[in-house]
Symmetry: C2
Subunit: 137 residues, 2 copies
DNA sequence: CCTATAACGTAACACTATAACATTTCGGAG
DNA sequence: CTCCGAAATGTTATAGTGTTACGTTATAGG
């Protein structure tokens, strides 16, 4: 592993291609949209995309948007270290996604989990609505 | 249809069947699981299920779980009136879902929306983990 | 080199959801 | 009662999303 490369050092070819497609996109992409984008790069089957996505999500470079069945590149700096649970505000007009850290909401949900003795593993928070840009325009 | 069914009065036949399937189930059901449950009642195509589900979700009797692509009957009393956004704790062990009102979390997310001028339309909050019952057993 | 592991390629399949179009049901206007 | 429009329904086909299965290839460590 090279010393201080701020690029993703350990991505394989397919993972790099998928991650590139996501970072190059304005908004989230479905797995099949990614597949179409990467046909010229040799992608032929959805599994190639899903396998890369699985790894990228596991690493934390990509998030899955459950309410869209789509994926988006993490908007955090590469080396922000511990990437806590993120929340997403999805504009239903322009399709853009704003990722943010819902600290207070998370604390409240963790408190609920403690009280109910629910062993929390993963939290999904997705907001749907219209972004400021689309409201004013 | 019998006289004084204490079921919701304004449901159509298909809506009633689908709602009955969901209330009779231990946990959430996918649309196709509902379809299979209702084959003996004349259901033949997914659209029959999806149409009923659309209406039931619109009415507020049923919730869609985005992270499961499944549906669950609302656990609130039928006439609880304004049904605010609900949150769901999904046990990955037994599959049961606990619906609750995440008031504090919602307030925090609404505050974020105000600050970002994001016109919030719908909020999805889904917790994954292991319920108390499955942890102790 | 040898081997274990991860990544990759390909085809087939399973699951989730909607489009399109015809038909039926039902309540209100005339 | 009859007519009409809206809502609900029935049916077929198709689109979109995700996984299983199996075989091959690249990679790193001993
Ligand atoms: Zn992120
Ligand atoms: Zn927008
Ligand atoms: Zn509810
Ligand atoms: Zn459980």
């Amino acid at each position: 592993m090279t010393a201080h490369s701020h690029a993703k050092p350990d991505l394989t070819k397919n993972q790099g291609l998928v991650f590139g497609a996501l970072t190059g996109a304005e908004g989230p992409l479905t797995a099949y949209a990614i597949l179409d984008l990467l046909r010229d790069d040799g992608f032929r089957a959805p599994l190639q995309v899903y396998r890369a996505l699985d790894k990228l999500v596991e690493i934390g470079l990509v998030h899955r948007l459950e309410s869209l069945n789509a994926f988006v590149a993490c908007s955090h700096p590469v080396d922000c270290g511990e990437h806590k649970t993120a929340a997403f505000a999805i504009c239903e007009d322009c399709g853009k996604v704003d990722e943010f850290a819902p600290d207070a909401a998370l604390q409240s949900l963790q408190a609920w989990s403690r009280q109910e003795k629910f062993a929390l593993a993963k939290t999904t928070i997705e907001l749907r609505g219209t972004c400021a840009n689309c409201t004013t325009s």
